[in-house]
């Protein structure tokens, strides 16, 4: 549905995007994660045909975004990371205006607006002024606006930023519903856990480069392959270090504040092997805890690594 090939965007002599490639099959929710300034918005703007790439290609439903701009615009619903509301317009009029811009016939527009307001749960606010709404409600109106022409693809730039947890849960439900309606969705965020529950695929971008992309489980497994242990021993710490260091599964060992931190490759069986090696050498282990670095750590690791 969405294919990005070697996308490059250069501003001056800084590469905002450096040969970014990924693919999103139809009906998937693709989470696009990276720190601020990593190139998420640039990628989404290129996909929305608002920006011309310096190099590479991007396709929405088979249409080249630099060539078939009109076709792309009818296929995508774009929600930028800002609201973009007019004053002096009610929610209903605001949506009707964009429906008219998307050339929806007049007879159908009021039904479209009502359906969308029901979808985002704002039916009772139809006659309220758009710019008087709270942040969460504006976000919902903007999502509804991106849907007025029933696009097959949704590009959502930071839709959850600045939302309270409750609004976030509601947004998640709406997105699930949209996925059920057969839409392909790209969501960007700088918070990885926010996306892992929601997305079927993720891509991690940093400094204009794609670090990892694929189904959520795969990417997480790949990122969290280097596990960590916190080990406390009663007396002979030096001896413990001597045992741990030569083990083939252990990548790195150091002593921090009386605790031994060990990084290893493998699964829980490997961890138990490490414990076995220590106890067999007669070292009294008082605490042996796998550190759940979690996604956030993995994400930080992925995005801070120097490129070799």
């Amino acid at each position: 549905m969405i294919a990005v090939e070697e996308l490059t965007k250069v501003y001056g002599n800084r590469a905002a995007l450096d040969r970014v490639s990924f693919e999103v099959p139809a009906r998937e929710i693709f989470g696009f994660v990276g720190p601020n300034g990593a190139g998420k918005t640039t990628t989404l703007r290129i996909l929305a045909a608002l920006l011309e790439p310096t190099g590479g290609k991007a396709f929405i439903d088979g249409s080249d975004v630099t060539k078939d701009r009109e076709k792309v615009h009818t296929r995508i619903g774009y929600m930028p990371d800002f609201f973009g509301v007019y004053d002096q317009l009610t929610v209903g009029e605001y949506l009707d205006f964009y429906a008219a811009c998307y050339r929806q016939p007049k007879q159908r527009r009021s039904k479209i607006v009502d359906d969308l307001l029901a979808l985002v749960g704002m039916t009772e606010r139809k006659n309220q002024q758009v710019d008087s709404l709270s942040r969460g409600l504006k976000q919902r109106v903007c999502l509804a606006r991106a849907l007025v022409h029933d696009p097959a693809v949704l590009l959502l730039d930071e839709p959850a930023s600045g939302l309270d947890p409750r609004a976030r849960v509601e947004l998640r439900e709406i997105l699930r519903e949209l996925q059920g309606m057969g839409k392909t969705i790209i969501i960007s965020s700088h918070i990885l856990p926010e996306l892992t529950e929601l997305c079927s695929m993720i891509g991690i971008i940093d400094n204009g480069r794609m670090r990892a992309t694929g189904p959520v489980r795969e990417v997480i497994a790949r990122l969290t392959s280097g596990r960590r242990l916190h080990i406390k021993v009663l007396e002979d710490k030096e001896a413990a270090l001597e045992i741990l260091t030569p083990l083939p599964s252990v990548r790195h060992v150091e002593s921090v504040n009386g605790t031994i931190e060990a990084e290893y490759d493998g699964d829980e069986r490997t961890a138990s092997d490490i414990l076995l090696a220590l106890t067999q050498a007669g070292i009294r282990v008082s605490s042996f805890a796998p550190v759940d670095g979690g996604l956030e750590d993995a994400f930080l690791k992925a995005t801070s690594e120097e490129v070799g």
């Binding site: 490059t8 250069v10 590469a15 450096d18 040969r19 703007r45 929305a48 045909a49 608002l50 920006l51 011309e52 310096t54 190099g55 630099t66 701009r69 009109e70 615009h73 009818t74 995508i76 774009y78 930028p80 800002f82 609201f83 973009g84 509301v85 007019y86 004053d87 002096q88 317009l89 009029e93 205006f97 964009y98 008219a100 811009c101 998307y102 050339r103 606006r145």
Partner: protein
């Protein structure tokens, strides 16, 4: 929806009308406009009544004077209002961050500009229409024909339109509304007063032995002031934009102040030979030969016609410029960008 309807009515126009007329600013602007125009009309009228015995030309000239003041004041008012209406057209959307949202719709960038212009200019038309009752007072005194009013309103409307187009062009290029507003007022000043100043500083130079009434430089006619004066007074311009060189104290420096324009050439026998141009052979435009432009680029045209044509040309340039500059991904580039360098490995 056929093509014509779509050209004249796009969603942007409807939205602009809505948001514009919902604020208190629009009724206020209309009220101030009418009060000022009515006020100047009343003031001129009172002043003329007091001194009318001095004129000794009857109510007809009074009507003419009143009309002259009103129409010039109206142009000045519109020169203040139009930039304010249009300078925020595109930059306002940009500042509100709604421009990208319009760009992702199938609406063409040209339609965005056109919709904005249409909405602003219909407000100007509204102002012109509601000023009609004030102008109709002039007919109480006479001295002004309906065709003069129509052509004066046409010139005024075209001037407002030109200023509107320029405002939108600045709004497209300069990203901030404030900058666009300042630039638009600057442009309005240049258009109305700057061109007149040019005529005063660099007038048409004529030899004293040429007896044709010369015209000021064509560029001064971009300003609607001279055309409006000729419409209102029904007299050709004199004493502006013309400098007489080689004043010969012996020979008479005859300036044909009225009547048909004459073409003069030094006669082979010496002296000057003049031929009056008959009005039947003149161009389609010259209905009133007294106020036709005697020399220069627009010879034989009415002053207001030359003004309208030049302003329309400026508008067209401004419109094309805006349409070229607005799209986020431009089809034509002013400077061809070099091929993308290989990204740093």
């Amino acid at each position: 929806m056929n093509v014509a309807t779509r050209a004249l009515w796009n969603p942007i126009v409807a939205k602009e009308y809505r948001t514009r007329m919902r604020t208190w600013r629009s009724p206020l602007a209309i009220t101030i406009y009418i009060v000022l125009l009515g006020g100047i009309g009343w003031a001129v009228f009172s002043a003329l009544i007091v001194t009318s015995t001095g004129f000794g030309q009857g109510p007809g000239s009074l009507g003419q004077m009143l009309f002259t003041f009103l129409i010039l004041f109206q142009v000045a008012l519109l020169a203040f209002i139009t930039p304010a209406l249009t300078a925020g057209a595109i930059s306002g959307e940009r500042e509100r961050q709604t421009l990208d949202l319009l760009f992702v719709t199938p609406i063409a960038p040209f339609s965005i500009i056109w919709g904005k212009l249409l909405a602003s200019l219909s407000f100007v038309v509204l102002l012109l229409v509601i000023s009609v009752p004030i102008f109709s007072l002039v007919f109480l005194f006479g001295g002004i024909e309906l065709d003069q009013v129509v052509s004066a309103f046409l010139v005024t409307g075209v001037t407002a339109m030109t200023l509107g187009f320029i405002g939108v062009a600045f709004s497209t290029v300069l990203r901030r509304t404030l900058a666009a507003t300042v630039a638009s007022y600057g442009a309005a000043f240049v258009l109305l007063a700057g061109t007149l100043l040019y005529g005063a500083l660099f007038p048409t130079e004529v030899d004293s032995n040429v007896t044709t009434q010369p015209a000021p430089p064509a560029i001064t006619l971009v300003s609607p002031v001279i055309p409006l004066l000729t419409i209102a007074t029904n007299l050709p311009v004199s004493g502006y934009g013309v400098r007489i060189k080689n004043v010969n104290p012996g020979g008479p420096a005859i300036l044909n102040s009225s009547g048909a324009p004459q073409y003069c050439a030094p006669a082979p026998t010496g002296g000057v030979m003049c031929t009056s141009q008959s009005s039947s052979s003149s161009s389609f435009f010259a209905q009133n030969s007294a106020t036709a432009i005697p020399t220069g680029l627009f010879t034989g045209w009415q002053y207001w016609q030359a003004s309208v044509v030049m302003q329309l040309m400026i508008s067209l340039v401004a419109l094309l410029f805006s349409a070229l500059m607005l799209p986020p991904v431009r089809r034509f580039r002013l400077l061809r960008r070099r091929a993308p360098a290989a990204p740093p490995a």
